[in-house]
């Protein structure tokens, strides 16, 4: 080896090391603060505008709503609400507990909720979560459907402040389980500051949760500190949380290994091979409220003709879910047997096995059904996915491989698209010509979020355009019930129609996967795959 090269290389490395080593020792990190990985939220972090997981993490730290989903069981429990009652599943009276306030000292009253909800629903405020208020009477007036239409009112008729701590809500139709929605981000209360100085609030969100924002450098780091005067029952058990944006999941994982980070809540796929060796018991892999499906373009005549449902069911039977989740996902997915998610819990409406035979791997049955249905429309199909994120290529190829093997002929291929935006554009414009990957993450732990949003005729996320009167009727009936038991039973009947018609093939439930440093304890993920930050304790 050339001596000079060695000198040069060594000099370069030595310089790095010399300065780096000196830099490593310092830092002045508060030992009671948990350092957690974060991704840059795509929208400004404000309750009704946050529908993504990253922004949701902040809201979960900074806010407490009328209800809160139990981090373990996903059941909606009263938090700021004293009671939410209704005689007829349509008119609700909400009583707010006294003694709650925002971290800037402002008292929480009925108005804190009513004003926040009216703001979230008003179309000109362009909040992503506006449709969550669509059940309230008068929503159409503040949020007209047509593009460019001016709202006829600025507040919703259905919301009335009765006294300081009481307000009433009138829905536009019966929805017995509506109170269970109130744990969702969009329904959080907001202080006056939000309306009087919006920019200041966005720069440093003020809420009523166990943590208060100390500083926020957009795209970089958000420092949250325990709010000492937090009046709720779930006070923070650590001194604070630093949410650090990482450019890459792999780098966050590397930083965890190097001891510069305490918690990652998304172990990157390439690391799954050795994560147990790296972390041992400090690796978390538990079901989250997410399902992945293979959806069909039901707006396309060749996929929606009478009889093709047999082909769709046949394809479902040809997918070896167990093998793919084991080999490709290394156990971070669970084969799906219904159209909801395991993390929903039985209380929320999850029932294993509703899909029946159609979700059981059976090559012979698959061949038979596909033949009876007249074969794959057009003789072959392409499974469309976006190739830029989420490593979908791996499993789509595996899925096609499984289908081809089961049917004994080469009928399935993957069709990658360059970007997620392009892919979503084609999906929402209904321009797919064959099956495509789809997914759904629950907003709140109710079976309704899975079934109505995706399969009800004309629903906001019914991208496949599937429509079935019987299904719609059952969903409407279920929503009018006030007993969770009856709601779930009726929804299960609706799910059996999905099993018969198969407009989308359930593939697998996604797990949340995370890992943490030896320094912290009591780490778990909630059913939304967000870490339960307030429960984390520091060792020693």
């Amino acid at each position: 080896m050339g001596g000079a090269w060695r000198v040069g290389a060594v000099a370069c490395v030595a310089a790095v090391v010399a300065v780096g080593a000196a830099g490593c020792g310092g830092g002045g990190q508060d030992p009671t603060v948990v350092r957690a990985s974060w991704g840059d939220p795509p929208n400004p972090v404000e309750p009704a505008n946050t529908t993504d997981v990253q922004g949701g993490k902040v809201l979960d730290l900074v806010f407490r709503g009328l209800k809160r989903y139990n981090p373990r069981t996903a059941v909606a429990e009263n938090m700021v609400a004293e009671s939410v009652e209704s005689p007829d599943a349509r008119n609700f009276t909400v009583k707010v507990k006294p003694g709650w306030n925002f971290s800037n000292g402002e008292k929480i009253t009925a108005r804190s909720f009513v004003d926040a909800w009216n703001y979230g629903a008003l179309v000109t405020n362009r909040q992503q979560g506006a449709p969550f208020f669509s059940y309230v009477e008068g929503y159409e007036e503040v949020h007209p459907e047509g593009a460019g239409e001016k709202p006829a009112a600025r507040t919703m008729r259905g919301l009335r402040v009765r006294d300081e701590l009481t307000f009433t809500v009138r829905l536009n139709k019966k929805f017995g389980l509506w109170p269970d929605l109130l744990g969702y981000n969009a329904f959080m209360p907001l202080p006056r500051l939000f309306f009087t100085d919006h920019d200041a609030w966005l720069a440093k969100p003020v809420g009523n949760g166990p943590y208060a924002v100390q500083s926020y450098a957009k795209g970089g780091i958000m420092r949250l500190r325990k709010w000492e005067k937090y009046p709720g029952p779930d006070r923070a058990r650590n001194g604070g949380v630093d949410l650090q944006v990482y450019t890459d999941n792999d780098t966050a994982y590397t930083d965890l290994m190097a001891g510069n980070l305490d918690l990652v809540d998304d172990v990157p796929a390439p690391q799954l091979k050795h994560v147990r060796k790296d972390l041992g018991g400090r690796y978390i892999n538990q079901p989250a409220g997410i399902i992945q499906t293979l959806s069909f373009p039901m707006y396309d005549e060749k996929w929606s003709r009478r009889g093709v449902e047999k082909v769709r069911r046949g394809i479902s039977m040809a997918v070896n879910r167990a093998a793919i989740t084991r080999q490709i996902f290394r156990g971070t997915r669970t084969p799906a047997t219904d159209w909801t998610a395991m993390a929903l819990g039985e209380h929320g409406g999850y029932q294993a096995g509703l899909c029946g035979d159609a979700c059981t791997y059976d090559p012979a049955g698959a061949r038979k059904l596909v033949a009876e249905g007249g074969g794959i429309p057009g003789g072959a199909m392409k499974v469309t996915y976006n190739a830029d994120t989420g490593s979908h290529k791996l499993w789509v190829d595996a899925l096609c491989n499984s289908v081809n093997k089961a049917l004994g002929r080469h009928v399935c291929d993957g069709a990658p698209m360059g970007t997620f935006a392009d892919y979503r554009t084609k999906v929402t414009q209904k321009k797919m010509s064959g099956p495509y990957r789809a997914g759904w993450q629950m907003d709140y732990p109710l079976i309704q979020t899975f079934l109505q949003s995706q399969y009800f005729t004309g629903a906001s996320s019914n991208d496949s355009g599937w429509s079935n009167k019987e299904f719609d009727g059952l969903v409407s009936r279920a929503n009018a019930e006030s007993e969770q038991r009856q709601v779930n039973d009726t929804y299960h009947r609706a799910e059996r129609i999905l099993a018969r018609e198969m407009p989308a093939i359930p593939l697998w439930y996604q797990n949340g996967s995370g890992g943490y440093a030896d320094r912290i304890e009591n780490v778990s993920l909630n059913p939304f795959s967000v870490p339960v930050y307030d429960q984390i304790t520091i060792k020693g």
Binding site: C12, G20, A21, E145, K218, T247, T419
Partner: protein, 307 residues
């Protein structure tokens, strides 16, 4: 000289307009950003329409472009989807990447030129061959491989440096990513210098200088190096722009929140104001760097004059 500079600056205008327009078209062709904004769920049509109108996405492409250029000339680069002015993002990202690029360039010049000179002066000997083989290896290893490997070895295994750069990117933490970013170019600089030196070492003026009895050091530094550096300077000048734009991989690996990372995010999120804004600045940097290189020729070789 003055007229030459003015002419060059004027030539930049069509290049600038053309480049920004091309980027605009390309980002536009990637799909509807509003569709991607709300993830796997369909955006609410009325809200989406509201966002489109405010971002002028409901207008034809050429109108959007005119509107955008109008904004730029007023010094406004638009806002990202999370409500941050692109100018603010540039304000935090460009200094970071400039520092990273500076580290890379210094490494290139110091290590690359030194190795090249040593190799060129000892042409054909063991040291020369060794350098050639090593540069070949470096060139053929992709940046992400060397990046992850060095990050793992130095950052995790031996824990000499922090594997991820802290927010604000202090200079000391940028040394490793800077060296990784420099590696491939460094190999080219070494080879360019080596060839150039080896060629010029046999030139008449060097022989004359030797015959005059000048000290060897002076011959190498003042005569040989000055002439041989012309192609190297060209390469390094053009490399400034390439390094700044090409930092995408390195910045992702080492958690550097710079231009490369912002560009990557902008593309993944279909955020045209970010992508076009950042690339526009990169185009300007590239053009100016090339101008400086051309002007440097005259300094290195007095025979070159600009009219």
């Amino acid at each position: 000289m003055g007229r030459y500079v003015i002419r060059r600056l004027l030539q930049m205008v069509p290049v600038f307009v053309g480049a920004t327009f091309l980027i605009f078209v390309m980002v536009y062709a990637l799909g509807d950003p509003v569709a991607a904004l709300s993830g796997d769920r369909a955006p609410d049509p009325a809200t989406a329409a509201q966002i489109r109108r405010e971002l002028h996405l409901d207008q034809p492409l050429w109108q959007q472009y005119l509107h955008y250029m109008g904004q730029i000339f007023r010094g406004d680069f638009g806002t990202t989807f999370d409500g941050q002015p692109v100018l603010d993002k540039m304000g935090t990202a460009f200094p970071v990447t400039l520092r990273l690029t500076a580290v890379a360039i210094v490494a290139e010049i110091v290590v690359g030129v030194t190795l090249g000179v040593l190799g060129g002066l000892r042409r054909g000997r063991l040291l020369d061959s060794g350098v050639l083989v090593l540069t070949l290896i470096v060139v053929s290893v992709p940046t992400f491989v060397s990046g992850y490997a060095l990050q793992y070895l130095l950052g995790v295994k031996w824990a000499w440096v922090s594997p991820a750069v802290a927010l604000g990117a202090p200079l000391d933490e940028l040394l490793l990513p800077g060296c990784v970013l420099a590696l491939v170019s460094l190999a080219y600089v070494t080879r360019l210098t080596r060839t150039s030196i080896a060629e010029n070492a046999r030139a008449d003026y060097v022989r004359t200088a030797v015959a005059k009895g000048l000290p060897r050091r002076r011959i190498v530094v003042r005569h040989l190096l000055r002439n041989s550096l012309i192609p190297v300077v060209t390469f390094i000048g053009a490399d400034i722009g390439t390094l700044m734009g090409g930092a995408v991989v390195t910045e992702r690996i080492f958690n550097v929140h710079g231009v490369g990372y912002e560009l990557y995010q902008g593309i993944v999120r279909q955020n045209s104001p970010t992508v076009v804004g950042f690339v526009t600045v990169l185009v300007i940097v590239f053009l100016l760097a090339n101008l400086v290189v051309d002007l440097l020729y005259a300094v290195l070789d007095p025979r070159i004059r600009y009219a």
